[in-house]
Symmetry: none
Subunit: 224 residues, 2 copies
């Protein structure tokens, strides 16, 4: 598990700052605050947050200025930036987004919705790359279509791979033969009784690892 995500909030209204801070902390985020644009820049440099929530109207440098300054620096090219403003006119919102922000939210906003939006942003950000199951020494990469056991790549044919991926998607769960047929073969195709067995056999053989258990009369399950 990675360390908690860091969020910096900049707003000149202490009340709002506090409410948001409380809600985000409750959700497990590490939160920093700033009361104006210059403080926001300082804090950003100091803590390198993963997400910055910027009010637009602040004394001194406003939010858009801050965003511009940040986006010019390589260190903040990829940082998530969200505006949170009472200004809801079209021009400002468009300008805000074109500055390179990832979202533009308008006050008043429910803390829960803010939280959902923040979660959605992080969800998208983290989606980069990793589509793989890690099960002990066994790695199943759906994107690369590779099984890796103890650093050895194992080549499975399509059906074999899909079957193993299915079983391994819920370790311990017993998949009925019907479920397996539906998931791997689809509902249209009809195949004989022994087809599943044969594929299971091939997986067991290639993996050389006792990880698929037969539950007689029911189905199969994956377990290390």
């Amino acid at each position: 598990m990675s360390t908690a995500k860091k969020i910096l909030i900049a707003d000149d209204e202490p009340d709002i700052l506090e409410i948001i801070q409380f809600n985000l902390q409750t959700e497990g985020y590490e939160v920093f605050t700033a009361k104006n644009g210059d403080e926001a820049l300082e804090q950003a440099k100091k803590y390198q947050p993963d997400l910055i929530i910027l009010d637009i109207m602040m004394p001194g440098k406003n939010g858009i200025d801050v965003c511009n300054i940040l986006r010019m620096q390589p260190a903040f090219k990829e940082t998530l930036i969200v505006f949170l403003s009472a200004l809801s006119d079209e021009g400002t919102e468009i300008r805000g987004l074109e500055t390179g922000a990832d979202d533009y939210l308008t006050k008043p906003i429910s803390p829960k919705i803010l939280l959902s939006k923040v979660n959605a942003l992080f969800r998208r950000l983290n989606k980069e790359g990793n589509n793989l199951l890690q099960l002990g020494d066994l790695k199943i990469d759906r994107e690369k279509y590779i099984i890796n056991y103890l650093d050895n790549d194992i080549i499975l044919a399509r059906k074999e791979f899909e079957l193993l991926a299915l079983l391994a998607s819920k370790p311990g769960k017993v998949f009925l033969r019907n479920e397996i047929l539906n998931q791997v073969w689809g509902t249209e195709v009809i195949v004989g009784d022994r087809t599943i067995d044969v594929h299971i056999r091939k997986i067991r053989q290639k993996l050389d690892l006792d990880c698929i258990t037969t539950v007689k009369g029911v189905g199969y399950k994956f377990e290390l």
Copy 2:
């Protein structure tokens, strides 16, 4: 330059569909539309859009259902999904975002703002600022259309280049034949079964480097 980004819009109000379609097309996006949930699923499967804009209240399957169904399929795990709804109650919005959507917009919305939001989403998604890929001894310059291997320039034809550039954009990832067709050939053109193979063959030949692996029944992947 890669092909235009594809956007699918699903809404049961023809007027809205048309306005949004027009605005997005003007901006250079390739737009598909659907009048209800089921149609949205069909179109999504058919065109593999980069972004899907879903109305929530639609006859038959509603937007949230559609999102749920899409997110369960590997092919749509990474697709951008945005809700656009007249429902502005907190519960729905939160549920929408937790379903795995990237944003939740409320009607009425100014076309310009929608455009800005869409642009912002694509901006974040495309980490590609770098027009040249460096992969071991292989350099791919998307701007100049030049491949260089061990200091030798290799001339590839356009389709060959785009195909290689696509595969190399995510080393290791297996690109389905469908994905390849959509990305390199576009959705309008229909080409025969062997076309991809022939191009792959030409690349392999010109590159004289074993970097493209066949995953039978699935697709191709680039790997050094």
